[in-house]
Amino acid sequence: MPGHARPSARRFLEGRGRYVADLSMPGMLHAVVVRSTEAHADISVDASAARAVAGVRLVLDGGDILAAIQPPPIIWDVPGQRRSGLRALAHGRVRYVGEPVAIVVAESEAIARHAAALVRIAYAPRPVVASIDQALAADAPRLYDDWPDNVVASAEWSGGEPDAAFADAPVHVSGRYVSGRVSAHSLETRGVLAAYDPAQDGVTIHSSTQGPHQLREAIAWCLGVAEHRIRVIVPDVGGAFGSKSCPYGEEILLAYLALWLRAPVRWIESRAEAFVACAPGRDEIVDIELALSEDGLILGLKALITLDKGAEPYAASVGAAWAGAMMVTGAYRIADVHVATRVVVTNKTPTGAYRGYGTPEVNFALERALDDAARRIGIDPAELRRRNLVPPEAMPAPSATGLLLLDSGRYEEMLDLALDAFDYRARVGRARAERAEGRAVGIGLAFYVEPTNLGPSALCGMIGIASGGFDIATIRMEPSGQVVVFTGQTPMGQGVERVLQQICAAELTMPDEDVTVVHGDTQACPYTAYGSGGSRGTGIGGSAVMLAASRLREKLCAIGAHLLGAAPDDVELSQGGVQVRDDAARRVSIARAARAAYLAHDLPAGMDPGLDARASFDPATLAITYGVALAEVEVDRETGLVNVRDILFGHDCGRQINPALVEAQVIGGIVQGIGATLYEGLDHDAAGRPVTRCMRDYPLPFAADVPPIALVHLETPSPFFPNGAKGVGESGAIPIPAAIANAIRDALGDTAGDAVNRLPIRPESLLPS
């Protein structure tokens, strides 16, 4: 087996993965959700025909759950934020196509589907708010009668003297940059199997989720059931990318149904449902203004971030806009900054987390605007960036707003590394020559910073995240000397289980295969404050494992020293044994020391029998991963089609514990970034109805759509993490839109117009009008 490979990867090839839809239980019932087909309407529900179907056990509508199911908790809760008060099923009014209105439980899925089609919903349409502009209009219809407008929350931050900086600066550029609504569309949709647990009078929920502990908390909160009676189990997760990071109404409903019916109930989201019910991402407008000196120094930045939250401030809520406010200054020294955010509701599916979560949106705006600035000033875009990058000696460097701390990195070195590897100068020259021959060829680049290792608990509290930012790991060495690691992190393809295995094995000088990792079970695994999101698995989950393993090592050494008759300070753990330093003859194996710990016949005075350790890790700061994307494109002038000829991606995510898995994350992110840049978009008609509702209409990249991609990297360990690792899960998706858009702008020149400022950049918009 190759060194990078996850110990469990082979079973996926054999078809032995176990996803929620693969699980079944005796007596299992099947749930189907009835959803709104209108974007905004008052409703009345008649479920009598559905209830009368043979084999139907239960039909619930919004009125049936009013007393029993509370609105879900808000995970990112900023000051002044407005609440929707919505519950898992709509009551009296629907606010988006896809909103759950009723749930049908039956003995088979076919019966449940049939009955679901018989639930009659009478709609009295209301005026629809289909866009940010409509939501903010003075006479806009309101989604929530008790709100004064359609704004969930807004805020602003300033640093330095932005107005003065703009007044004095010789060069101004500004633009409006739109990141369209896209969806993660993990190949596995969401799914839940909830079972009544008679032994605990509780409920066990199997769910495809990134945050088992967060789901448990939400169920406890919404149903008023004590947390120790709720067990969340996460089987294999078939991709997530943020879309499964927050609890969903269906998960709460299923837990409720299992408790009510005292039976197992399964719900598997169809792809058609996923298009309207699984939280999409992006859908954000960033207005940005830059003030620059004549030699290209950024003197000031003003930004307004407007997030279309869809119909309700669902769990992750306003966070993407707030994260954007934090990241909008990027990798650059900018002394005078003003950033404002506002989050509005519209009659569309609520947006949530998606790979990048607020950072790709502001990166697209900033890096597009910098390109315009370079053109205006007349210097090379790479050179403009170089002049503004924060130097290593200035780090850790807080941004002017104080929202971001650039912790460590060699930004300029990275830029040079990538430019050289891409043969940037020569390519720019060749592109110019090709343009002179009439071909629309262009080169573009974008630098990026990525917030990872979320994140200090105190910071979480300060910015309104209703959880901590730490992880706990426990490690148990068995009497025979092998180790089981228990983690709150959830594998979903990224390979975190492999990384934790490596970290533990390295700390204990054991072979990797002597370590197993247990995950995805709230009864067995320790608490994680934020689940697997925010690119924190290796840096935070891994640091907790490292600390726990080092505690276990200390105990092993103490036992070993005792067995060897040596002083604890004189022994060390190496290659699977405890030995007296520089004396290979005086050595006991880990297995023998472990056996001694469990026999407890003769342990050092005062030592507890057994061999396990626990550690929590709460970082001092976020870790800021960074890098640069370069793209060469050719635009077909006749068709508007963009051919991405080459991509080069440079990145630094600190110490790479498993380089192959790092590379896999980066490439996967790049290709999702290509999808969001050129193909993917969830469109709506004027009545707020989604028009993109099946895979045929949502062009995900396939193999033939992927250009050649080259990677280069630096490894600058983060000084704030014991293992030096930063996260990397979102890197690829962040700078690709700006890099490709800049290359298209370079290729088409002024004729590109505004088309390169709106994602996705479809061929329609690149055709001469």
């Binding site: 090839l13 839809a21 993990s186 190949l187 895979m695 992927v706």
Partner: protein, 155 residues
């Protein structure tokens, strides 16, 4: 109706409604959950199986259409001779992450290897076949590398 077929090399008789989708029949009646359903419209390819040796979408196949047909699922491919080389190549290239689409690639590649052994497949055909299955995790490059490796093609 009674469906007489060969399932993963064994003669099998299955009682099922003729209009049951093969994907549901495999997963729910036969417990062969390696065939995954991701889009139910034939686009994504996670449910790809081999019918009489050719790749086909189980979600676009009815039970009734399988009477008299040899069905091979990922479980069948995994028990076959070429599987070791397929698995080795995919693991060597780290050509899977969450694993959900992986069975679709394994069956597609198994058919490709057999067809290629009969008559060498052109590059366009290889690209088209790899591009018949969607993966959201890997960005495809490692999958393409694994397949080209298996086929003995340059990259």
């Amino acid at each position: 109706m009674l469906i007489n077929c060969t399932l993963n090399g064994r003669d099998t008789a299955i009682e099922a409604a003729a209009t049951t989708r093969l994907s549901a029949l495999l997963r729910e009646t036969l417990g062969l959950t390696g065939t995954h359903v991701a889009c139910d419209e034939g686009v994504c390819g996670s449910c790809t199986v081999l019918l009489d040796g050719s790749a086909a979408r189980a979600c676009l196949t009815l039970a009734g259409q399988c009477d008299g047909v040899a069905i091979e699922t990922v479980e069948g491919v995994a028990a076959g001779e070429t599987f070791e080389t397929i698995a080795d190549a995919f693991l060597r290239h780290n050509a899977l992450q969450c694993g959900f689409c992986t069975p679709g690639f394994v069956t597609t590649v198994a058919a490709m290897l057999r067809d290629d052994a009969r008559e060498r497949l052109g590059d366009a055909e290889v690209e088209a076949r790899i591009s018949s299955v969607a993966c959201r995790c890997t960005g495809y490059l490692p999958i393409v590398a694994a397949v080209r490796d298996l086929l003995g093609r340059d990259r």
